[in-house]
């Protein structure tokens, strides 16, 4: 079993689901012969045909709406945003139409909206955004954020099979930067379950997406200082895995949250609130956070590097929290 990239893992997951269930279809721009801007759908149209791989005009709200309509006809549509930033153009369709349908009249909208998310590749303010917090406040949606190739595959498959609308945020920085052996066969990663990526004694960092790798690198450095840091990868942001969050708090009694997304009203706040409510007495220090600053994602390399949380930032906050 060869190693595959995070990108290839997504492609395989989609391919297998298209193969498994003829109700699975994909919609998006340039996803036909071109194979999509990042080639996630490479080869698919030849294999599955234009009835399954539906290349659309440029209309994110329109084709997301159409995906909702297709789901009423029993389909399980995957909607590709060429860059996830363009999901903003479908904001009302997702939060008002898709998210509220089951609650209102019981209809299922098993769509997956996915696309390249996150910074680190010089994409600038409109091709680098973290869009999770635009949607994390809307009941009815699920949000998954794979950090590994195996999760990328297992979560896309779980998302496609999920009966509710799922926003699947693939981190474009990881596309070709990580490679892994991915288990063979038909398996999924459950939505709503976090994973401890590294166990620790002294404190925990709660994170997701590309920052999982930054956290692991920091944990390695901290080990040399005899600081044992647990790394919890959330994998799903909505619904959050409260049990795993509380378990790590109860285990190490000191936690901080790390996210690439900007600071104010990022997911760290929700996590701090949950911990306050349910594990305040287990805390031996404040819930801290390491995040990007409150600016758009800048373009120039020194700016983007400054913007992104770094291993050294993580190490510094970990040291501070351990010393608390």
């Amino acid at each position: 079993m060869p190693e595959i990239t995070y990108l290839e893992a997504i492609r395989q997951g989609i391919w297998e689901e298209l193969d498994r269930d003829s109700n699975v279809v994909m919609l998006g721009e340039d996803i036909g012969g071109y194979g999509g801007a990042f080639r996630v759908s490479s080869g698919m149209i030849d294999h599955f045909g234009t009835g399954r791989i539906i290349e659309t005009p440029i209309c994110e709200s329109g084709f997301t709406g159409a995906a909702i309509g297709l789901s009423f006809m029993g389909y399980r549509p995957i909607v590709e945003m060429q860059f996830i930033d363009f999901i903003s153009c479908a904001f009302s369709m997702i939060t008002n139409f898709a998210a509220k349908l089951r609650y209102r009249w019981g209809a299922s909208v098993p769509i997956v909206v996915r696309g390249p998310s996150g910074a680190g590749v010089r994409g600038g303010p409109f091709h680098s955004q973290s869009v999770e917090m635009f949607f994390a406040h809307t009941p009815g949606l699920k949000i998954v954020v794979p950090a590994t190739a195996a999760d990328a595959k297992g979560l896309i498959k779980a998302s496609i099979r999920d009966p509710d609308p799922v926003i699947y945020l693939e981190h474009k920085y990881l596309y070709r930067r990580i490679k892994e052996n991915v288990p063979p066969g038909d398996w999924t990663v459950p939505i709503g379950k976090a994973a401890v990526r590294r166990t620790g004694r002294d404190l925990s960092v709660i994170t997701y997406g590309a920052m999982v790798h930054v956290a692991l690198e920091a944990a390695g450095l901290l080990e040399k200082e005899d600081i044992s840091m647990e790394v919890l990868d959330l994998r799903t942001l909505l619904p959050l895995d409260r049990e795993s969050i509380l378990a790590t708090v109860r285990h190490t009694n000191k936690v901080f949250v790390l996210h690439e997304d900007t600071r104010t009203c990022g997911i760290a706040g929700e996590i701090a609130a949950i911990i306050n409510e349910e594990a305040f007495e287990d805390l031996d220090g404040p819930v801290l956070r390491v995040t990007a600053p409150d600016t758009p994602v800048p373009y120039s390399p020194p700016l983007e590097e400054f913007f992104l949380p770094k291993v050294s930032d993580v190490v510094a906050v970990a040291r501070k929290l351990v010393a608390y």
């Binding site: 279809v25 009835g51 539906i54 659309t56 005009p57 209309c59 709200s61 329109g62 084709f63 997301t64 709406g65 159409a66 995906a67 909702i68 309509g69 297709l70 789901s71 009423f72 006809m73 029993g74 389909y75 549509p77 009302s92 369709m93 008002n96 139409f97 509220k100 089951r102 609650y103 209102r104 009249w105 019981g106 209809a107 299922s108 009941p139 009815g140 699920k142 999920d162 009966p163 509710d164």
Partner: protein, 317 residues
């Protein structure tokens, strides 16, 4: 057209009209929760268009298309329940008015954001085509809703996909208080059809037979793989945007002109001309519908409000 069919049309026109009137009474009694949106004057469009459909076809109504729902087999009591926000309503009181749907009946309830029905029903229509089913999706929009981006995105999508979608443009002269002339510069909504490679079609929306024939042709074309159509139906909104609105912005003469074109009175003339029914027969039908509606309204009035805690649950599968 058979006499039975003509009488069926008449019954639905009346049902639509009398149902709205009874809802207005309910509103004055303070028993409607939230706003009430009447379709008075526009019944021929809902009824004439929905009657062209067959089993397996879908509709995407807007707030004034109660007539379409009734034609498609929705129990009037369900609509009353919605307006009275009862536990027994199709949404269990979670949403109101015509904001409900039923996939098994082919009804996709709207959300409030104008325009959004178009892409969604375009997707439904595409699904029919992909499944090789000889079905169509019928969707409605007001003149005002056509200024929304979603209208454009959905129409273009349907056109490119050659989806079996029939779009009814209800030109009732106003979007809330804003006359059509201040919403767009075209003299006819049909001027938007060529932008999607479609034919310009404008009809008298207060002539139910013309609606029936024209929509029927578009539905048949879509069913046969001929792709989408847009049909402008000229009509008038004979009441305010909602019951609270006294429509002071509508010139009296305009209202009077349109009162003379009332779709139901006109259809009664047809019935009489074609000797399908005389005035007495029409009255009898009216009375029987009224009677049934009274029973329906009384019955729903005894039904419970939902329990507060049923606010929870049902957000996810």
């Amino acid at each position: 057209m058979t006499n039975e069919r003509l009488l069926e049309i008449y019954r639905f026109l009346l049902l639509n009209r009398l149902f709205d009137e009874r809802l207005q009474k309910l509103y004055r009694q303070g028993k409607v929760v939230g706003g009430l949106y009447a379709s008075t004057g526009q019944e021929a469009i809902s009824v004439g268009s929905a009657l062209t459909l067959q089993p397996g076809d879908f509709i995407g109504p807007m707030i004034r298309n109660v007539g379409s729902l009734l034609v498609r087999g929705v129990d009037p009591k369900d609509v009353i329940r919605q307006y009275m926000a009862r536990a027994t309503s199709p949404t269990g009181g979670r949403d109101g008015n015509l904001h409900f749907g039923d996939i098994t009946k082919g009804i996709i309830g709207p959300i409030s954001m104008l325009g959004s029905q178009i892409p969604v029903l375009a997707g439904v229509a595409l699904g029919m085509k992909l499944r090789g089913r000889p079905n169509v999706a019928l969707v409605y929009t007001g003149d005002g809703g056509m200024s929304m981006g979603d209208f454009h995105e959905g129409m273009n999508f349907a056109a490119v996909m050659k989806a079996p979608l029939v779009v009814i443009l209800e030109n009732n002269g106003y979007a809330y208080s804003t006359p059509t002339t201040r919403q767009m510069t075209v003299s006819s909504l049909a001027d938007r059809a060529p932008a999607y490679g479609l034919e310009r079609i404008t009809i008298d929306g207060n002539d139910v037979l013309q609606v029936y024939d024209t929509v029927g042709a578009a539905v048949a074309k879509a069913r046969a793989g001929g792709g989408p159509s847009m049909i402008e139906c000229m009509t008038f909104r004979m009441r305010g945007h909602a019951e609270h609105d006294d429509m002071a912005y509508v010139p009296k003469e305009e209202l009077e002109q349109w009162r003379a074109k009332d779709p139901i009175l006109r259809f009664e003339c047809v019935l009489v001309e074609r000797a399908v029914a005389d005035a007495a027969e029409c009255d009898r039908i009216k009375e029987s519908i009224r009677h049934q509606l009274e029973a329906d309204f009384d019955s729903v009035d005894t039904e419970p409000f939902p329990d507060g805690s049923s606010c929870l649950g049902g957000v996810y599968a």
